[in-house]
Symmetry: C2
Subunit: 130 residues, 2 copies
Amino acid sequence: MFAIDLRERTPIYEQLYKRITELIIKGELKQDDKLPSVRELAKELGVNPNTVAKAFQMLERDKVIYSLQGRGSFIAAVQTDSIKERTLTAFDAAVAEALKAGLTADELILHIRNFNSKGTDKNEKEKTDE
Amino acid sequence: MFAIDLRERTPIYEQLYKRITELIIKGELKQDDKLPSVRELAKELGVNPNTVAKAFQMLERDKVIYSLQGRGSFIAAVQTDSIKERTLTAFDAAVAEALKAGLTADELILHIRNFNSKGTDKNEKEKTDE
DNA sequence: TAACTGTATTAAAGCAGGTAGTACAGTTGA
DNA sequence: TCAACTGTACTACCTGCTTTAATACAGTTA
């Protein structure tokens, strides 16, 4: 469920951060659901507990989860909008880069439309096999 | 003209790579134009010659420039398409991220349209003051 | 030939990501 | 009460990447 890719160049804690927000958006994690403990999840992923703790602390800073010492970490009041907003900020940067590289807004839009037709199937499948 | 931001978290050689492709796309650098020498540009930017050389070597690897030992580095046959293609690959990743985070293609497209109306003026101004 | 060019090499410093181990404080349930 | 869990904090260390530094070598140019 929380699977990440250790061969990726992006930091593990960032992948975990994104993965958990994804699960919330998809509805697989709901408000007040309990997350695995730092140590348990670290063992499951084969990474260091500190790395998981770092992801959890970032998620708590952004009010995506709340952590209670001695009890565990839980999904906060689901704020889909703020998650989307943060994502959109990252997306903005990518758009800016593309425009500077000479691509037009129309080219980007066309690309998104093509992308969408390819990506939908994969999203559907992902719901079952994890 | 080749200004970069030393406070950025992205590597200097990457910034320089992008900057030069930008200048080509904008038409400010044309085929067979001579680039500043590695040492000269390094002095201008206040960075190490090795860092500039690294950027130049990446640009040569991607056929954006060609370098002649003893002579200098020059803009290659301008292949706007391949530059755009590389940029589009990076853009794809950003789109995939956004879709996974629950944003819809329509939301992204709407965002690009708004973004465009904001960004155009800045692009126009940039041509003169560097 | 002097002064420029790109290129290559080695060494060192700085930083971020990740691991490892330990410790402390709060909670839970037997 | 107490063992076993929880999050949190801290130090130390390793690794890889980025950058700097100092040379050195080979080709070009005036």
